[in-house]
Amino acid sequence: MPRREDIRSVLVIGSGPIVIGQAAEFDYSGTQACRVLREEGVRVVLVNSNPATIMTDPGVADATYVEPITPEIVESIIAKERPDAVLATLGGQTALNTAIALHEAGVLERYGCPLIGADVRAIQLGEDRQLFKGVVERCGAEVARSSICHTMDEVLAAVEDLGYPVVVRPSFTMGGLGSGFAHDEETLRRIAGAGLQDSPTTEVLLEESILGWKEYELEIMRDHADNVVVVCSIENLDPMGVHTGDSITVAPAMTLTDVEYQQLRDIAIAVIREVGVDTGGCNIQFAVNPADGRVIVIEMNPRVSRSSALASKATGFPIAKIAAKMALGYTLDEVPNDITSSGGLRPPGTPRTASGEELREADRWYSAAFEPTLDYVVVKVPRFAFEKFPAADPTLTTTMKSVGEAMALGRNFTEALQKALRSVERSSSSFHWREEEAPSAGMARALLDQARTPTDGRLVLVQQALRGGCSVQEVHEATGIDPWFLDQIALLNQVAEEVRSHARASAGGRLTPELLRRAKRHGFSDAQIGELTGLSESVVRGVRHALGVRPVYKTVDTCAGEFVALTPYHYSSYDEETEVAPRERPAVIILGSGPNRIGQGIEFDYSCVHASLALREHGFDTVMVNCNPETVSTDYDTSSRLYFEPLTLEDVLEVVHAERQAGPLAGVVVQLGGQTPLGLAAALKAEGVPVVGTSPEAIHLAEDRGAFGRILAETGLSAPRHGIAFSVEEALGVAHEIGYPVLVRPSYVLGGRGMEIVYDDDTLAAYVGRATHASPQHPVLVDRFLDTAVEIDVDAIFDGTDLYVGGIMEHIEEAGIHSGDSACVLPPFTLGRRELEEVREATRRLADAIGVRGLINVQFALAQDVLYVLEANPRASRTVPFVAKATGVALARAAARVMLGATVAELRDEGVLPRDLDGGAMPADAPFAVKEAILPFRRFRTQTGQAIDSILGPEMRSTGEVMGIDAGFGAAFAKSQLRAGSSLPTQGTVFVSVANRDKRSMIFPVKRLVDLGFTVVATAGTADVLRRNGIPAEVVRKHSDGPGPEGEPTIVDRITAGEVDMVINTPSGRDSRADGYAIRAATTSLDKPIITTVQQLAVAVLGIEAMRAGPLSVASLQEHAAALDLFGRDGADPSTR
């Protein structure tokens, strides 16, 4: 059936900022959906508050609203745009919840724009646990025994029946937020209490424990004609008890017989029919008892999910794209399988081979109504960020805690597993066979005990326990991991010992081709082989190349080789035959950024994707190398070729070699994917690989303190006083010379890892001791900390002659908070013309002196009218997409062109960049864009179940960002704070407790809040100051004082009781640290706004004023760009307006 003609415009709801449990996969799926809809001639209206996405690029939708995803704002968009339908199944739980709220408020009906893809009834059946239980039972399948509870009394009654341990799952939360295992009443009360609060329906489910069962997931598609296909089966290596997002997962399922697999498939199909997901993708999770095969249905998501992104990348079957076509009315058999088809709809007319003649090339058309089959193994490994949250409990539970993931493909499990482990870029996550750490039998027992608790890195414990002599059976009993997987790990230990003993037995540790091939077929890296043989990685590689042992590249083709694949989506393997095709156009290899992590996320993928698109349009074949399955960069049609590979030197060099064999190579781009590729720049250059754009030497100039100091001297710019220390003594010497406070950090880091502000000798000595112990070859940088400075961020492009300033951003918070966690504004809201010129000139001089060809990001601090350079990074920064959205200029595309030789002048002529203006000289009436960081504190709990501290500092901890854009600064800021469940209050009670140094600055903003009708409560000291200034304030007891004699509550009690709508708490000295922590923890738990700096307070008041002035208005980026008109398309010079 052809597509529905009644749908001419569709509102697509995105998923908002990257948070744990909802990451870049929804940019990938949403972008695919928008593209499909536009190809079908549908007008696409998009709402997504996340500026770092590809989907919010103005070219992806017809009207792009970078606005908060709340029911009220989305209603305004619907009222303005009047779409024919709403597509909410591709934007994660955020979109789905918003759609349900719109439905319940009658908005969808009022405006006549029904949901497509899944209706409300289906969403409710899939997501409401009680209804879903009924669905499963009607399908003749089982769910875990369970009970729905709405109060703590019901919870306690239910557990009497179910017995401990029980699983607690709040309804309608994403990423399993708030769920967990309770082994006793105390933990039950804690988890269920929080769960009742987190659930929008105040509902939790208590469930019998199926801990230790095998866990599987099927990804399914259905069309409105009731055709159903299973796209992928996924088996979790970690058994039940660990959230699937935190599990190591394997595709296809490895340990099911066909009888069992078909049983899961039958149940899945029956459930999707019963739920009534009439079109689109969904996933369903199963637990299987390893002892008798009993199957329990755990849950289903009636929407595209993280797993469907993984399944799409694992199989080559683009679930989101096909789901969008299904939503428009197509059936699966009408839509082509892109990987093997030449495109278009099913060709009509004569059958092609019905009478036995050969299939002609032009007849290559295969439908999407089939089930992909794999001739390789896919392994996904999660990436965690516990080092950023030392207080958080690192035990893995049913609440997702990982911040990203890496995927690898291999021709067998061992190859895929070892590649995936090295793809997450932590040396501690890869297996090792260091002789000095060989576990004794006793140590192996201890490791086994540790491995009983699932944690990040448990698999290495398992490997070491096996290495130390524990049997597969023992490890299986301790961990529940299927013996099949454990056998594979034991095999890796065996191969490792073969390599070691062989190298030892032969004179001079000779590596034979047979030995190398055997190790390589099991995924051993050159570095691992080097460790086993006592050779350096580069010597191993040299020998290997001399012996001709190189990987081949196979193709992901959905069909295990049955049909010819037309899409070059490759992965390496040490097998016989390579499938890399020769090519004629020069290739540019773009190195991506690997797994998402704090400090290196989707913003870098954004730049890589843009570079690829721009260069493809300009005569190059682009070759993407990346290992992150969530991203747009690893979509098989983003680049001319995709290599799904780890971003290590070895893996990248092999891709370079393969592509050099295939045709001319223009060079490798390392400057767009963040620190991961940047860290390879020098080594690639040393291996004779051409690096395009800013040279590795120039990159070094910017990163090396000494060299950068000389550049500053040359250019006459100042930096805060600083020094370098290799030891505690040196550090103390530096600090005494430049004076406290000092900012200390290890060199060569991204995201402010390990960065601290230090006020005294003892803390400094302890810090430097830790840092130099961890990494003796890298020194510690000690900088004078400018504690009252205004921070400024600049993104610019330099071509050797001309500078194009992409944007100048002013941070709202003062220096000392990591730029990634700090809210910022473009254009700057307090800087004058002279200061902006000074920033521009300083950026130009730096770019020139460093030798930048492409992007540069500079961070400045303005203190007492002196501009200091904090750092300069000759690469794409995480603000590039924000700047692009705020100014309407495709900065990353332009930068990629400059890297390959275009000039700024040429790009201005072409219209890629504005002819005269730039983002550093915005017109006076330019809208304000505010970028705000999203922090994951609510995700984590300490081992005793307390909330972790939410205070910001020089170490980055945000997972994502949102953008608020509006003509007024206050409204833009208000939008940046607005999201479901949390926003600035427009009335109510605020609690104020500020440090002494901040008391002066708080008076006017707090006065304004009182004028606006807020009630103020404050601790005694703050209240005194307020009252002396004529501001009424109610005194509340400090947390540390405890409740009063008459039971008067403390501030923490009042926050917990929900009586406080906003908390203003600037951290002061040590004495009140415990109080501050308790206040912030209570506020974070309730997801109420918390303000921790006076600068935030001032702008928050502006935001509140804007919200009280009337409903926030909405405008699309296209409208903003037309009004801003940097390109001067309406003829007038906008700077004169």
Binding site: V229, S233, P351, T373, R518, R521, E577
Partner: protein, 398 residues
């Protein structure tokens, strides 16, 4: 689960167990190397690849794979071991198996033994560690062809000698194999306890899989499984409500006896259902031709369109031959035959191969693929209901 120490069977890739080498020689001269797997020795058959990711045991015990060397595209084979419940016939029929990574040992609660042991016990020569994807691509591009697996001492014979062994073996085209795999004696599969017997069916065993009579029986059908050499008298002796022709190996063009038998069934107006080889025979009985596909359809992910409902079913396939639709007649139009018009009821979505026939004037239909699955999805199981419905309608008319 059976317990073996991990070291018990060394990884097939290498050193300590000193694996024996294996060499694959294709009739066009291409050679692949690997290690011996299963029995050591030599075997020659038609090289075919199967793309199913589950169900290797069902595949290897499917009589349709008689005289074929099966290349499994899924890299890990043997993970779930073997068990008595998943045997589709009394033995392994594949003439040889080629895999990339055999399991170190089985891990599944249903497992009763190790696949490698089962292959060795059955004398089935295999090879592991082979670049099965390269081999599959070769077969896809060049078409199915004969292959020899030579392992142990046989692998060290000169290439020319090995190649000659391969090229001197019989080809699949022109081979009549049904009699080689069929049962010697008729036997009866009765409905399970509690299921009343509604029909009796005479099922001609041309290489029948165990699941087929089981699925019929579960629908109240008493199934008389008859040897391939049975006559119409033998069929009539069972007093059948319907006749069923199974799947099986070989070239349908050689099956003259069975085609003759089928014509008698059609002449008698008995309801008929055929699967796979049985479908090709219905085609021949109607006067349609058959041809050999370049490399066949073998896997459990093949989409088929049911023309009568417009719905797609994902199905198990295992066929190297197919029915040739008459030149000049579109497949959505009926073709005239001696038994009246026949419709192409099902087509393969990937290449429009005729996947099913439905006669309009005689009570007969058939499908090229495998509604009994095993291995594979159960989407097409409704065809067994169509068969019982056909018998029901026929009885009502009579």
């Amino acid at each position: 689960m059976t317990q073996h120490p991990v070291q018990d069977r060394a990884d097939q890739g290498g050193a300590p167990g000193v694996p024996q080498e294996a060499v694959l020689v294709l009739e066009d001269g291409r050679v692949f190397r690997g290690e011996a797997y299963g029995a050591v020795g030599q075997t020659v058959g038609e090289a075919v690849f199967s793309t199913g990711m589950t169900g290797y045991q069902e595949t290897f015990t499917d009589p349709s794979y008689h005289r074929q060397v099966v290349v499994m595209t899924a890299p890990h084979i043997g993970n779930t071991g073997v068990n008595s419940a998943d045997m589709e016939s009394r033995r392994i029929w594949a003439a040889g198996v080629v895999v990339r990574d055999p399991a170190l040992r089985p891990s599944n609660w249903r497992s009763q033994g190790d696949l490698a042991d089962a292959l060795r016990d059955a004398g089935v020569v295999g090879a592991s560690g082979v670049d099965t994807r390269a081999l599959t691509r070769h077969l896809r591009d060049r078409g199915a062809m004969r292959v020899g697996i030579f392992s142990g001492p046989a692998a060290r014979r000169p290439h020319e000698e090995l190649l000659r062994t391969v090229t001197e073996a019989p080809r699949m085209a022109g081979s009549a194999l049904a009699a080689e795999v069929s049962t010697d004696q008729a036997y009866v599969v009765s409905p399970p306890e509690g299921v009343p017997t509604r029909f009796t069916v005479a099922a001609l065993d041309l290489g029948i899989k165990g699941t087929t009579p089981a699925l019929l029986a579960s629908r109240g059908v008493r199934v008389h499984v008859l040897p391939a050499t049975s006559t119409f008298e033998d069929v009539r002796a069972t007093e059948p409500d319907g006749v069923f022709f199974s799947n099986g190996p070989g070239d349908p063009a050689t099956a003259d006896h069975e085609v003759g038998l089928l014509r008698e069934v059609l002449d008698a107006g008995l309801p008929f259902f055929g699967i796979c080889f049985g479908n090709q025979l219905l085609g021949r009985a109607l006067g349609l031709g058959t041809y050999k596909l370049p490399f066949g359809h073998r896997g459990i992910n093949q989409p088929v369109l049911d023309r009568s409902t417009g719905k797609v079913e994902v199905t198990a396939h295992n066929h190297g031959f197919a029915i040739a639709w008459p030149e000049g007649v579109p497949t959505d139009q009926p073709a005239d035959t001696a038994y009246g018009p026949v419709r192409c009821s099902h087509v393969a979505l990937n290449d429009d191969v005729v996947e099913g026939l439905r006669c309009e004037q005689v009570p007969a239909f058939s499908v090229q693929y495998h509604p009994e699955a095993a291995a594979g999805p159960h989407d097409a199981e409704y065809l067994f209901d169509r068969f019982t419905q056909l018998m029901e309608d026929h009885r009502a008319q009579a």
